[in-house]
């Protein structure tokens, strides 16, 4: 069992949990992920590692409550436990040795996953421009954290409610056009956002890493459910990734594959919400 040591609601939909997992914490690196299972009936769900504390033996995960498993995960409180928590899985991010200036882009929840990358780059002395995009002001997460590990931090909202209307791509293009010379762009967020960032950076010839988070079962290369097409070849995101060259990914295929179980997932969540309602709001 893996105990919840800390909890923070980052906004209405996004929760941060600090989980006691000393073996995972000891080895975790930015870019890697864990797989959790809430209880005996639970599915195995991959989540990118948002932070880790080797001394405390804790791993931080940040997730959006979008399906039954993440909703249930969000219902856990400090002192509760998860049944399973396995990792660190996947390859750590590899940025290349000669990066001097990087743009780290997070879309919505992707900001949480981009944060450890920004932190790592910052600690390596790389000049970091962080660009985070959200639908509206109320959904902005990790603003202080990201600011602390970046030289410049730009936050956009789709509706302009924070005073800076636009998408991450608009902000990135403006930076590039203003003469910023990035030798690396890291883009993490919804597939559609990563696709458009990759399209933009391809135009400018800037190396771009994206983090894929497809449907998985084992996370160790065994099932092949997480296959993505990279440069025309099939790769397993769990063992070959999750970071890939954004210019090589077949995003349209990835978006399609993301929805294989949409019907069942919706049904599962609906049933769960019904049950909570019937129980008078009790867990």
């Amino acid at each position: 069992m893996y105990k919840v040591l800390g909890k923070r609601e980052l906004n209405d939909q996004v929760t941060l949990l600090k989980v006691e997992a000393p073996f995972v914490a000891k080895k975790a690196e930015p870019g890697q992920f864990i797989i959790f299972r809430i209880d005996e009936q639970g599915e195995r769900v991959p989540l990118t590692i948002a932070d880790f504390d080797r001394e405390e033996g804790s791993v931080t995960i940040i997730f959006q409550k979008v399906g039954k498993s993440t909703v249930k995960l969000g219902e856990l409180n400090i002192g509760d436990s998860l049944l399973d928590f396995v990792g660190p899985l996947g390859r750590p991010s590899h940025f290349g040795d000669d990066v001097k200036k990087a743009a780290v882009i997070g879309g919505g929840l992707g900001t949480a996953i981009a944060y450890p990358q920004a932190k790592k780059l910052h600690s390596l002395g790389v000049e970091v421009t962080a660009i985070s995009g959200f639908r509206n002001k109320g959904l902005i997460i990790l603003e202080d954290e990201v600011k602390a590990v970046s030289d410049k931090c730009i936050i956009t909202t789709d509706d302009g409610s924070n005073g800076n209307k636009g998408f991450v791509t608009t902000a990135l293009e403006a930076e590039i056009e203003a003469g910023e010379k990035f030798d690396l762009v890291i883009a993490i967020g919804p597939l559609i956002m990563m696709k458009f960032v990759a399209q933009l950076t391809k135009k400018y010839g800037i190396k771009t890493l994206v983090s894929m988070n497809p449907i998985m079962v084992d996370g160790t290369g065994m099932c092949g459910g997480c296959r993505v097409t990279v440069g025309g070849k099939t790769k397993f995101a769990c063992v070959d990734g999750p970071d890939f060259d954004g210019h090589e990914i077949d995003f349209d295929e990835a978006m399609r594959r993301q929805n294989v179980y949409k019907k069942q997932e919706d049904k599962s969540l609906e049933d769960h919400n019904c049950k909570i309602g019937l129980d008078g709001g009790a867990k």
Binding site: V217, T220, R257
Partner: protein, 466 residues
Amino acid sequence: MANKNMAPKKVGMPEQDAKKRALNFYEVALGYTEEMAVEEATRCLDCKHKPCIAGCPVNVQIPEFIQLVADGKFIEGYKKIAETNALPAVCGRVCPQEEQCEELCVRGIKHEPVGIGRLERFVADYAIKHMEAEDIKIEKNGVKIAVIGSGPASLACAGDLAKLGYEVTIFEAFHTPGGVLQYGIPEFRLPKKLVATEIDGLKKLGVEIMTNMVIGKVLTLDELKEMGFQAIFIGTGAGLPKFMNIDGENLNGVYSANEFLTRINLMKAYEFPKYDTPLGQYKRVAVIGGGNVAMDAARSALRLGADHVYIVYRRSEVEMPARNEEIEHAKEEGVEMLLLNNPTKILGTEEGWVKGMEVIKMELGEPDDSGRRRPVEVKGSEFVLDVDAVVVAIGQSPNPLIRDTTKGLKTQSWGGIIVDEETGATNIEGVYAGGDAVTGAATVILAMGAGKVSAAAIDEYVKSKK
């Protein structure tokens, strides 16, 4: 001793009716009654040369246990098997006895051999039900051994080492131990409760099991050594699925057999939504391949409610690697065999879902390297099979995680770990390996045999260091 029973055929195995069982996940074969077991046991001639034992990779003293069954001493019969076999209830169900012990049985020369597998299963099930827990006293020697993976090879290795007094810790990547017995072989062939019972038996011998530990990622072999493990056994299996590399393989509704079966067996997708892991409700399923895994996938697809399930295999039935029993069971349940057919591409809808599979007819030509007649395409014979899901069951390669994270570990070009056949020793001192991680996908019992070989070699290695 009872009189010899010269009946030419084995006592029949009671089974669930084919039509009924094709719709449930309960076990197909129901097992012998006590009377049936005694009757079958008396078919054994207890012959002098005991050829059957040579066919058993874990050296079960077959005639001895069968005589005990004939005398109605079922618990004693079980104990006789358990002396050398850590998983009798598993082996009695999934071993290909027809090409091992039973193939060498003297009774098999003229008629059917003794039903050794069925008797093994009977005594194992009997013991689970009736045997009282015994206090097992093993003197611990304080030497720590790490076993990676918890499939058949690892369990056999861990069991033998624990009996010798070693402090064995198994590291399993999944949340439940058992390896392929858990994620691969379906409930209707091998109930998961039995797997758990057999693993509990190992725990009683003092074996520790740590789940959720992906060795190579969370700990390296060097770190295990630093933690005080004096020897390491790698039994990580063949967990890397092969695909056909044809067009359309990444469409929604295409699965590796590993994924399809893991969702069903380990994650219990057949009990969705009680269990959270989903699997699509497919109506027409093509399973590519002709091995036991293909049969398992096809029969599972039927049980999940498919109207048509096809085995698409490029050779003929004679060349199928699956056990005859599995092929027969699949056919009885309604799996349709498309033999001498080879997929050429998978067709998708605009939204990217499988809508069909193009297949070309084959004919058998000259024998190839494997000695089987090589299938050759019949030009222009392509046709489209109307399916909405495809399961690729054409084999697995060894899982690369340990290989990729262990400097200097020697492996074959196709990924298998290179070992000394006599001992299972790898090129790294104190590190042994066995089972599918070494051979590529093979059988449960061969993996167990390899695990036992390494256990003995590890014992010798540790003693030689003292």
